[in-house]
Symmetry: none
Subunit: 144 residues, 2 copies
Amino acid sequence: MSRFLSNATNRIDAKGRVSVPASFRSVLSERGIQELYCLQDFIFPAVSVGGPDLLDRYERQIASADPFSPEANRMSLLVHGGGVFMRLDAEGRLMVTDFIRDFTGISSEVTFVGRSDHFQLWQPQAFHEAQAAAREGRLGLRSL
Amino acid sequence: MSRFLSNATNRIDAKGRVSVPASFRSVLSERGIQELYCLQDFIFPAVSVGGPDLLDRYERQIASADPFSPEANRMSLLVHGGGVFMRLDAEGRLMVTDFIRDFTGISSEVTFVGRSDHFQLWQPQAFHEAQAAAREGRLGLRSL
DNA sequence: GCTTCTCCCATTGACGCCCATATGGTCCCA
DNA sequence: TGGGACCATATGGGCGTCAATGGGAGAAGC
């Protein structure tokens, strides 16, 4: 298995912490990830979380683009300027910082969304809407 | 090679579990499937269930696109963010989670529907309507 | 000094694992 | 051919374990 899959919604406590789902934590430990790298998604109002390899992937993507293109410029601004390192506490919780709240609209609950090699933090309602929209977009295309 | 065929309706017990029909279970064990991958159908209000190979098929589809494209991002949101791995208990039952209930409308009974290489979970009434509609050559979409 | 973060422990509620019972079908034998 | 024993499946429920959550106290920073 060993990939981030499925979604779960957890509550933020009075101190601003939220438990990362156990299934995600086991993937993290399997992969030996201790430092989490967080950055804003390019399309959705969500924060992506993964190991340092996540940063590597984005840097390769930027490197592969024309370095003077607006696209590469914009990506670098988000990846290098917007990225944050975080750690979990002993119980597997992370602090929901203002950086996360402002970009995602998260206030009292966090939806954790698996994305195979990383996972994301969403405001629950926004996640449901985005998923519904993505499904609509596929209607009309042939399904597998 | 045996396939998932026919349909059967079973009751959900007080703890939210439901028995997978024995004929489906024997197909699962023949194929050596122990971990079940579940995903919302793209067209019908039903949840598809199959082996990890089901997920592999979708991932190949995603991999064929530019990994940073909006299209791949949306697809991953559905396949990774909406998919779940599940296991059967010792008696061959699975938990009917809110994820399944919300999408299918299932409350007290589950109709298992064979689809050759996978099977689906339906709300009984919705299944009958969709099948009747299919007989008439229509697409039996209920409003979700 | 006060606030903010980290480490630690307590509670509780959900889920997995186990065993018990019911129900319906099949096979064997009279 | 009808009755009964046997078996497999579906279903019900107890109980232990672990994850999610809440809160206290010490450490570090402003």
